[in-house]
């Protein structure tokens, strides 16, 4: 059983399109992090959300943490080929440093 469910698992879109990927759980998290991982590399942290309802923007990326702190979404506006990669969400419960990871959404943005 996966504690953090990410959807969709795969996404292939054309450059310029918008997209949203989701990270859902039945558990409450004290914080949730989004990472991007490229082939042959480790994950790179994009953002951490902590407060229920919080919205953070990073250029064309918008991250939202659900009010109940059980789910999160990542919206990309006008996707570019450089956005291609595996997007992972990871949740922290309490101050336990053992992050719980989703399986990721593999995004391909075609020129």
């Amino acid at each position: 059983t996966q504690l953090l469910e990410q959807s969709p698992q795969f996404l292939s879109i054309q450059e310029g399109e918008n997209l949203t990927v989701y990270c859902n759980s039945s558990s409450v998290f004290s914080s949730l992090q989004w990472y991007r991982q490229e082939p042959g590399e480790g994950p790179v942290l994009l953002v951490t959300v902590v407060t229920g309802g919080e919205v953070k923007k990073l250029k064309r990326l918008t991250f939202q943490f659900g009010d109940a702190r059980k789910d999160s979404s990542l919206h990309i506006t006008a996707a570019q080929p450089g956005d291609t990669g595996l997007y992972l969400c990871a949740g922290e419960r309490g101050n336990n440093r053992k992050l719980i990871w989703g399986l990721g959404t593999s995004l391909a943005v075609n020129p």
Binding site: Q2, E41, L88, R97, L99, L103, G104
Partner: protein, 113 residues
Amino acid sequence: GAGVSQSPSNKVTEKGKDVELRCDPISGHTALYWYRQRLGQGLEFLIYFQGNSAPDKSGLPSDRFSAERTGESVSTLTIQRTQQEDSAVYLCASSLGGTDTQYFGPGTRLTVL
């Protein structure tokens, strides 16, 4: 170097052999983590070192797995009597403190034949 480095980048071994994976954290980072990323599965926490505290080994899947860290420097993850299910990418991450951003290395891809 500026980032976390891991060696080797790829390791192919035969079932039953022992392997040793190395992680060089970012200088000054007191916390160090090992994760395993198997195909089709999420990252699994293996072990966490924080300064001179006893490591959190609660994620190690069996007694064939062990890890050491000397002070706040290099760490080695050892897998004894490797099995095919040990095939995975092993990722190391370090952070300035226990609650800070984790910076990941590129990983070691282990293939057990």
